[in-house]
């Protein structure tokens, strides 16, 4: 009888262990997770963690000392470059390994492996993974990796970095694994140079991947030419380009030819055609940034100051990791990308550098005619040309693999066809030509900028930047300031690639690349500053077609403010960088006021209208006017455009500047009329209709105590898994679209930096995160409040191996393994 009791109890115990060790019946393996010696408790770092240690690795050539300051920023002092990059790889992994792998899994279309094919309501397999593979992300990374590894310098840099990451991964045990691996239930794999290349392609997607080709084509097909051109114009009255109006440009080296049949095949308006697909996923339209450099003629000290704040999605762990790398060959400080060697935005002993997005159109779609369903041949130049197939295998958590065969054409991969984008398919197939598919070596860009000594080194370094195109700002202690709108940009005929193009012959292909020397640039201009904020790089005398989508307002206000400033100090620059003045609102609200008879308003309409009209145009955290303007303007846009756009499926809203400039030019702007009524509506009628829509939403916000801008905007910094418990929600901060401080809900200044290039470098910086990616560390999100308050840290640039400085908390030593 006892044996029966024994067996029954044993059975229950074993079953319980299995349940608590798996996700079979409970959502998490609670036993494994909560065992204090194995599970998540192991990730609860003591608040006073001691990082002092000596590590030995066979890969090390000499001795490297890493001094961590009070913000956990490592100051790496290496005897040679290779060791510096090995140690950088090790440190990135030590503090950000899970993030590095997650980001590259995302870039490589492998999220289904760890999240499953569906996560909540998100179709991970189709929207994330298949889309990225069919866009050619891994194909692009393979192409770039070949170039990176062909160059002995970048190969050695990447090899050292990868070895460093892998050296850290080898130290991991099941207990010391980062928290997210335990929560999601998988383990890290090895790092490789390919993953660094993949990460750079992810940045290309993020910064050179916002496309409206299908939306524009849909609009073209539904609208008349006259209407289309007015809604999506190529000119912008308000543009204050990066290279000022009036700059003279040389005769272009490449003159693209418009295809002879373009009028009948391409510029075809108002057709009754099927609805084209839209990309299932787009990077944020607002991915942009500000950067500027002021020369010594405008500063109090007489030395240049360089500023940069890249606007990107805000996440925890942050995209950025601060680091100082010091070797006998260079000494650089700044924000690095966990995933890539070197420093992305920063400064060295001679100069400083920063980036904003160039926003040029380097991705186009071609309509492909396959011979039959096998997709083995497609029509090109009057012949049937063979496709090549790239077989994409998707491993899916808890499910069998999924195989996707993607046809490749002379243009690139066929991204949309009968196998993909089922619902919105129009029966056609579309190939994508993307500049990021071409080999490029952006590792070299950072390598060269990190050790640049003067303008010449900078100019040489940026030539390695092909995609994503960036406005690269530069300032040096020798007094030079410069800015290049750099990248490899196809030389396009006017409107080329704004719409989907015919893919049956070569006449619609890109005909050449704009020579690098012809990219818009400025060196030591008389006005004493260079700046960029994603606006048009040049005016319409620039001899190449620039594309359509450039936000003008941040650039306008930055240039206006800088022009008026003298005796500039770093403090002035920090104030400018965090300025919440909404320049667009300041321009359009007076126009709206003129159109409304305020005496006719009453009740809540009048109350909210008054809140907006008495607003100081500052999107500060506590302003209610900013909320009213935001909601009312959104409604106004809908009221004005929706009637014209009704026949267009999957449209993109005309830019705010189109509406404002239209109203400024003509008070009886044609789009004010509702095409569905007999009456001719005025701006006043439109505003009243917008108020009707906006006031209930505003009253709701008021009832919920969300009328103040920060509460309404509700900035949050999501963990990459979006688990609220690992995120920072309800961050109290101002700013928004059209303000220099472009902080929106989940997007904004991902790193703010101000560098004063005086003989003794003075630098300030902050990012909304923390150096340690472990949610169980006090260094996980400790910069967020400083960032939200618009404050900065004084960046500590360590001069020598001086561990005695009060700021230094720990010393981690890497040495040769002599065994």
């Amino acid at each position: 009888m006892r044996i029966v009791f024994f067996l029954v109890t044993l059975f229950i115990t074993v079953v319980l262990i299995i349940i608590l060790n798996s996700r079979w019946l409970v959502p998490a393996p609670l036993g494994k997770l909560f065992s204090p010696q194995h599970g998540v408790w192991q990730n609860a770092e003591p608040a006073d963690t001691d990082l002092n240690e000596t590590l030995r690795f066979a890969n090390m050539r000499g001795k490297t000392e890493v001094y961590f300051d009070d913000r956990l920023v490592p100051h790496v002092f290496a005897e040679n470059d290779t060791d510096a990059f090995f140690v950088q790889g090790y440190l990135h992994a030590k503090f950000r390994l899970w993030q590095m792998e997650f980001q590259t899994h995302a870039a490589g279309g492998r999220l289904s492996e760890i999240l499953g094919d569906k996560s909540g309501t998100t179709d991970i397999l189709n929207i994330a993974d298949r889309y990225f593979r069919r866009l050619g992300m891994t194909y692009a990374a393979e192409n770039s990796l070949r170039l990176i590894e062909k160059d002995p310098v970048t190969k050695s840099v990447c090899d050292a970095y990868t070895a460093g990451v892998n050296a850290y991964i080898k130290t991991l045990t099941k207990s010391s694994m980062p928290l997210e691996y335990k929560l999601l239930g998988y383990e890290p794999e090895g790092w490789s140079n390919f993953k660094s290349a993949l990460f750079l392609k992810y940045m290309s997607f993020d910064l050179a991947g916002y496309e409206t080709d299908f939306e524009y084509t849909n609009a073209r097909n539904a609208l008349t030419k006259a209407v289309f051109i007015k809604m999506y114009p190529l000119v912008q009255d308000s543009a204050d380009p990066i290279v000022p109006r009036g700059t003279l440009f040389a005769k272009p080296a490449v003159t693209p030819v418009v295809p002879r049949d373009a009028d009948s095949l391409y510029f075809r308006y108002k057709l009754a055609e099927n609805v084209l697909p839209v990309e299932p996923r787009k990077p944020d339209r607002a991915n942009g940034s500000n950067n500027w450099a002021v020369s010594g003629t405008r500063t109090k000290s007489g030395y240049p100051i360089l500023c940069n704040d890249p606007h990107l999605g805000l996440n925890l762990p942050s995209l950025w990791y601060e680091i100082q790398l010091h070797t006998p060959n260079f000494n650089v400080y700044g924000a690095s990308f966990p995933c890539a060697p070197g420093v992305g935005i920063g400064f060295n002993d001679s100069c400083a550098f920063g980036f904003t997005n160039a926003g040029r159109d380097v991705r186009d779609y071609y309509s492909i005619q396959f011979r039959d369903d096998t997709k083995k041949q497609y029509l090109f130049q009057g012949e049937w040309k063979n496709t090549e197939f790239r077989v994409e295998r998707f491993r899916i958590k808890d499910k069998p693999d999924f195989i996707d065969s993607v046809a490749y054409t002379v243009f690139g991969p066929v991204i949309f066809d009968d196998q993909y984008m089922g619902k919105s398919k129009d029966g056609n197939s579309y190939a994508v030509r993307w500049k990021a598919h071409d080999p490029s070596n952006e590792i070299m860009l950072f390598y060269k900028l990190n050790r640049a000594k003067n303008y010449g080194d900078y100019e040489d370094g940026i030539k390695s930047l092909h995609t994503p195109g960036q406005n690269v700002v530069f300032a040096s202690k020798s007094g030079d300031i410069a800015l290049w709108a750099q990248g490899q940009f196809p030389a396009k005929w006017r409107r080329q690639g704004d719409f989907v193009m015919p893919g049956t012959d070569s006449s619609y292909m890109w005909q050449g690349i704009i020579p690098q020397s012809e990219n818009p640039h400025m060196i030591n201009p008389a006005r004493g500053f260079v700046s960029s904020a994603n606006q048009f790089p040049a005016d319409f005398t620039y001899p190449y077609y620039l594309g359509t989508s450039f936000p003008p307002y941040r650039g306008m206000i930055i240039n206006k403010r800088l022009s008026a400033m003298e005796n500039i100090t770093p403090q002035d620059m920090m104030e400018l960088q965090t300025d919440n003045y909404n320049v667009f609102a300041s321009l359009i609200v007076p126009v709206l006021r003129k159109a409304v008879n305020e005496n006719e308003l009453s009740g809540d309409h009048k109350r909210f209208w008054n809140i907006m009209t008495s607003w100081n145009f500052r999107s500060d955290a506590r302003e209610t006017g900013a909320t009213v303007f935001s909601v009312l303007f959104d409604s106004l846009e809908a009221v004005i455009w929706n009637d014209e756009l009704a026949p267009v499926k999957n449209y993109t809203m005309p830019h705010e500047s189109v509406l404002l400039e239209g109203l400024l030019r003509d008070s009886a702007y044609q789009f004010l009329d509702d095409v569905n009524t007999a009456k001719i509506e005025t701006l006043g009628d439109n505003i009243l209709a917008a108020l009707q829509k906006a006031v209930p939403a505003l009253k709701n916000a008021e009832t919920d105590n969300r009328l103040e801008w920060a509460r309404f905007k509700d900035t949050r910094i999501n963990h990459l898994t979006r688990l609220p418990a690992l995120s920072r929600e309800h961050v109290n901060t101002g700013g928004g679209v059209h303000s220099i401080n472009a902080t929106k809900s989940v997007h904004g200044a991902s790193w703010r930096m101000v560098v004063h290039l005086a003989p003794e470098t003075e630098a300030y910086g902050v990012y909304p995160g923390g150096q340690n990616g472990n949610p169980g560390s006090k260094y996980y999100d400790n910069f967020v409040d400083t960032w939200a308050a618009g404050k900065y840290y004084s960046l500590f640039v360590m001069k020598g191996r001086d561990g005695l400085n009060k700021k230094i908390k720990f010393k981690l030593t890497f040495d040769r393994d002599n065994l």
């Binding site: 044996i3 109890t9 608590l20 036993g31 609220p724 690992l726 169980g776």
Partner: protein
């Protein structure tokens, strides 16, 4: 006395075994200890339960104090849907305790009943 000895022994051996083996080694330890120090079922269960409850919750509590409860706050939000670090410590203790208690209970059935009290005296 036996109860106290087995509580101490299970805790000590579980701690050591967990340095090298998966978390469920606590079950194996509890089973073996109770087989070696036979006790009636209720005592056995209590020995395993109390032992690991103390071991796990004290360890978790100590870790969490040193961590200023940063991690426990986040994890309790995920698992318990509320910010309750101390409840998470108790839950931790309970999960381990349940497994060890059951394993100890199984162990108590493995040996002859301890009703032959005389055998106890023979030892002295």
């Amino acid at each position: 006395m036996k109860l106290l000895v087995s509580i101490a022994l299970i805790a000590l051996l579980s701690f050591a075994a967990s340095l090298y083996f998966p978390w469920w080694c606590i079950a194996v330890v509890a089973l073996i200890v109770i087989t070696l120090i036979p006790q009636p079922p209720l005592h056995a269960f209590l020995a395993g339960f109390i032992s690991i409850f103390i071991l796990w919750s004290v360890m978790a509590f100590w870790i969490s104090i040193n961590n200023e409860h940063i991690l426990a706050r986040r994890i309790s939000l995920i698992i318990l849907k509320m910010e309750a670090p101390l409840l998470l410590v108790l839950l931790t203790g309970f999960i381990g305790a349940l497994i060890a208690g059951l394993a100890a209970l199984a162990g108590s059935f493995l040996r002859k009943p301890v009703t032959h009290k005389s055998s106890d005296y023979h030892v002295h």
